[in-house]
């Protein structure tokens, strides 16, 4: 997913002279080919994220479309004011590529795990928030990112995530994908949780539970048109995200349901509100938080039996 995302910046730069890349201090060799082909539109600006955001704002004011690439926590935590004021208040078309969303940097600990990034970015007026499921969806999303008017936060997973989306789904920012329809449960996911949700839904289907999946790669603006009728038909709505239960997809879905009328049973699966003092792999930490396929299926079973 990461390689596809960055390669797409290069591909877009070939097509559109407004596109430029700004990295902070990425890994050696990042986008070397773009650097060679478009040295004037390739910037590596050092570990100075506040300046990178302001600089991107100035370039966007003059008609450029900067794709900014750095670690997700540095975008969301360190330079929140620059993101809020310089980008959102001016409504500028800057794309923020947040490397290592969720538990991707599990071995590096809490300074690098971005588990509240969706909440932070979602709170900003005008900010689009996107978390795709795999590399192929990333490519389709990046195509659609070019002409989006305002800023976009792009939550990047890691390399090698299994491909769980289909080409024919296409990609429209702000549109959800009804991956499957079901009558008992509506499972709403974002980012890489889609694959785990599919496995959970398969397991539940084998037990006679009919599960629909609504994949929400755009957390903001939320596709309420797709969400509301499906939620109204389901006995149980379940959200699953690699994110704290505070302020992310689950909160966004609850906000939309509450604004539309009385809310039925909603189960929000996410990371508990505590610092994660453990390392290992992304998968291991997701499992600790009940966010692997078995954990999701187990939580759904429990909630259904309590109805």
């Amino acid at each position: 997913m990461r390689k596809v995302c960055l390669d797409q910046v290069h591909a877009l730069a070939r097509r559109d002279a407004r596109v430029l890349y700004i990295g902070s201090d990425p890994g050696a060799g990042t986008l070397d080919k773009m650097k060679a082909e478009f040295p004037d539109r390739f910037f590596v600006e050092g570990i100075a994220e506040q300046n990178v955001i302001g600089m991107a704002a100035g370039l966007a004011m003059e008609g450029f479309v900067p794709y900014v690439n750095t670690i997700a926590t540095f975008i969301t935590r360190r330079c929140y004011e620059q993101v809020a004021i310089d980008l959102c208040l001016h409504d500028l078309p800057v794309r923020l590529i947040g490397n290592g969303g969720g538990f991707v940097y599990a071995p590096l600990g809490p300074t690098h795990t971005a588990v509240e990034d969706l909440a932070i970015m979602r709170a900003l007026p005008g900010m689009a928030v996107v978390a795709v499921a795999d590399a192929t969806e990333m490519r389709r999303f990046m195509e659609s990112s070019l002409d989006w008017k305002g800023p976009i936060y792009i939550r990047l997973a890691k390399g090698g995530d299994p491909v769980v989306t289909k080409e024919e789904w296409g990609f429209t920012i702000g549109k959800a994908i009804a991956e499957r329809e079901g009558t008992d449960v509506l499972l709403v996911t974002t980012g890489v949780m889609l694959g785990r949700a599919q496995a959970a839904a398969d397991a539940l289907a084998a037990e006679g539970v009919s599960v629909g999946i609504l994949h929400m790669p755009t957390v903001k603006p939320l596709d309420t048109e797709s969400l509301l009728p499906r939620a109204a038909r389901a006995r149980l709505v379940v959200t699953a995200e690699e994110h704290t239960r505070i302020g992310g997809l689950g909160s966004a879905v609850l906000d939309a349901l509450a604004d539309a009328g009385p809310v039925g049973r909603v189960l929000r699966l996410g990371i508990k509100d505590a610092w994660t003092h453990n390392y290992g792999s992304q998968d291991a930490l997701l499992k600790d938080n009940g966010l692997d396929a078995q954990g999701i299926a187990h939580s759904v079973r429990q909630a259904l039996s309590a109805l």
């Binding site: 600006e45 300046n51 704002a57 100035g58 370039l59 450029f64 001016h90």
Partner: protein
Amino acid sequence: MTAIPCSPELDARSLGLRRMVVDTLVAAGRGHLGPAMSLIEIVRVLYDDVLNLRPAEPKWPGRDRFILSKGHGCLAQYVMLADKGFFPAEALKTFCKHDSFLGGHPEYGTIPGVEASTGALGHGLSIGVGLALAARMKGETWRTFIAMGDGETNEGSVWEAAMAASKHGLSNLVAIIDYNKMQSYGPTEAVQGLEPLADKWRAFGFAVVEVDGHDVAALRRAFAALPADPTRPTCLICHTVKGKGVPPAEHNANWHHKNKLTEDELSVIGEALGAA
């Protein structure tokens, strides 16, 4: 520190602009007085003699870009924009009022002639780096001027931006410091010392010019000689006096932001600034 030069007497235009600031503050019942008064001659010379602008066409692509990064000094900018015809001077009376487009900090998109929303300190120079880079990438000759407060340079982001401006050799970028030596709490040297300020900017790769920020002729000469170095950005350190021209406000942190002015205060100010 370079000794602060002895400013000449304020001329009629400087006094008149200050009266407009005071009138605006009186109408609103609030405003940042001290930070505006130190800035008057800087913005006056910029708008009168330096910036290439078309007030009737505020978004004219060939314009020079000016960002007031010390957004709380906006009263000085607002009276200049009104004076130049970007909007009617009548609007100044609505400053900070509910239905006004003139808030306590400049906002982009609502105030003709304002290039960026500022007030959160330490943002302007980074935006300026982006603007100056864009001009160079597009082969444009317009220049970018960023006015900052001295207290504002406490922000680390200012120095990140300074590094970047220097790295890119942005000779079309001018960082202006309104060096009035006071911030909200008190003297800058007591709150968070800046000295040696000129050496700091030099060390960050800028060509540095120091000038008396109330001496109109000296400011004109300094701006006319830009860039100070054709390969580097310039930092113009303007030695100023907080509250300049308003006797009770000079060097007085209590006049950084002022609400209602008393009759006695207005009388003293009126005497100092003269009749309209």
